[in-house]
Amino acid sequence: MSLLPLAAPAALFLSALLFLTEGALASRKAPSLRKIHLPLFSLLLLLSLVPLLFSAPESLFHGQFLWDSLSRCSGLLLGFSALSAMLLLPGYSRKSEVPGAETAALLFLGNLALLLLSSTTHLLTALLALEAFSFITVLLGGILRDRRSSEGAMKTFFLGLTASLFSLFGLALLFGATGKADIASLVSLSPSPLLKAGLLLFLFSFLFKFAMAPLHSWAPDLYQVAPAPLGAYLSTAPKVGIALFLLRLSPALTPLLPFLGAFVIVTVLWGNLCALRQEDLRRLAAYSSVAHSGYMALALLLPSPFRGNALLFYLTVYVIMNLSLFQALSLLPEGPELSPSLENLKGWGKDEPWIAGFLAFALLSLAGFPPTPGFLAKAILFLPALEKGLFLPVGAALLGTLISVAAYFRLFAPIYFSSGSTLKGGDRRGRALLALSSLLLLVLTLWPKGLTLLIKEVFSHV
């Protein structure tokens, strides 16, 4: 047994400790976010990504920690998300209120928790990792610590607490049904009512954190109060961890497929419908991320080879395009009473043609317009679903896509069709990051085969 796979989690944990110590010791007044925290963070994060690049597949802790190409994928996506959040922070309009060291530590801890979540086949480990991340969600969401963000944090905390009670109850039932707590033993047993009930309840917290309607109500509140750079992280990273864990769990989910299908239908329709009537940009983004959770969950209903391919493709594309969206939103100034709304985008197309163009590209992709990667992700998802005869969920998803086009195109009207005084915020770093994300999207548009080949490679080693 090689201990090399532990290097990545250990690096994440030690980096977090380092930042916590720095936060506790550092002088309170020095504004060190840009000068100290950012370079250190980037360096440490990149270091923690190094072990992802090599080292053979390995199973540690009796299969509770799998080090395979899937978990390495997860590590890379999470790293991209965290790095993007941290790079955006120095350009954020309320950066003086964000404690840099603690934020950096929380990002590391969050990545650690999600990496563990996506690499485990043990239900207890998964639940603990999810709980850990749910606390981190609350802390990052409420990091500004003013009235509004504390309210959002509070609501999320108590809703999450309730959801986790259900999951724990489910875990107890699963333990009662199987006497074990790993995925393999769930699959090997024929489904009894106790097993089904346990699985259903166990999923509760996961679907909650994945923001599936009707368990999504925390997401808009939290994304609205969280600083936009952290919103970028919170709307992408947990989806990676949870989706990949659910992918590992999916062989056991067969008896629950109708139930999951119902969740998918409700989520894609409700998420997109709610996005349609939002004026606040980050609430809109939150509902859009709710809807995308629905599409990703649709992948779980597919038969085996398609399931992983469709999910991983969609997930990768989603992470990039949603980060683009939040990177663009991060350029808008915020305040205790000012939450950017559609009005604030007026005149962007004229004053900031490049930024507006990048945002438009991301929006088209989110709406699933051909030939953007968002469309390809949906095509790769819907095709096998239709072949399997999942007409109802696919129909709902298509209808949801239609609604989402209307929702995303609402942003084009202020950006391009009206002029106004542009609110300027953000710095070069944020702009460069947005350009990078758009470039990635462009590469995926022109050469999607690269990603499909990569995904094939990933699953050939699992």
């Binding site: 207890l124 603990l128 709980e131 606390f135 609350v138 409420g142 610590r145 003013d146 009235r147 509004r148 504390s150 309210e151 959002g152 944090a153 509070m154 609501k155 905390f157 108590f158 607490l161 309730t162 009670l165 724990l168 109850f169 875990l171 107890a172 039932l173 333990f175 009662g176 006497g179 074990k180 707590a181 808009p220 509140d221 609205q224 109060v225 939002q278 606040d280 609430r283």
Partner: protein, 100 residues
């Protein structure tokens, strides 16, 4: 020998009671009390199933639940302290800004 079924009944009833407390009561402390009560009932289920399967896993999970509960209480109290002391909030009903 105490049979398992009563323990399962008590545990499930307790879980429902805990949820009821959670939904009926206002105020963060009472929500915590409800959550703790529900957690305890779940623990009883774990212990009972542990005996059924003659596996120490259930007992071990109880230890984790207790740790989780402690962490939850600590974080919740920190948040409550922040809300009531720093932000001078009188009651949670004041917090109704986020909607939609």
């Amino acid at each position: 020998m105490i049979p398992l079924v009563p323990a399962l009944v008590v545990g499930s009833l307790g879980f429902l009671l805990g949820l009821t407390i959670l939904f009926v009561k206002r105020g963060p402390l009472m929500i915590l009390v409800g959550a703790e009560f529900a957690l305890n009932s779940i623990n009883l289920l774990f212990v009972a199933f542990s005996r059924l399967h003659k596996s120490p896993l259930g007992d071990a999970v109880v230890l984790f639940t207790i740790a989780l509960a402690a962490v939850e209480v600590a974080i919740a109290l920190a948040l409550i302290f922040h809300l009531y002391r720093r932000l001078k909030i009188k009651a949670l009903e004041e917090l109704e800004e986020l909607k939609g």
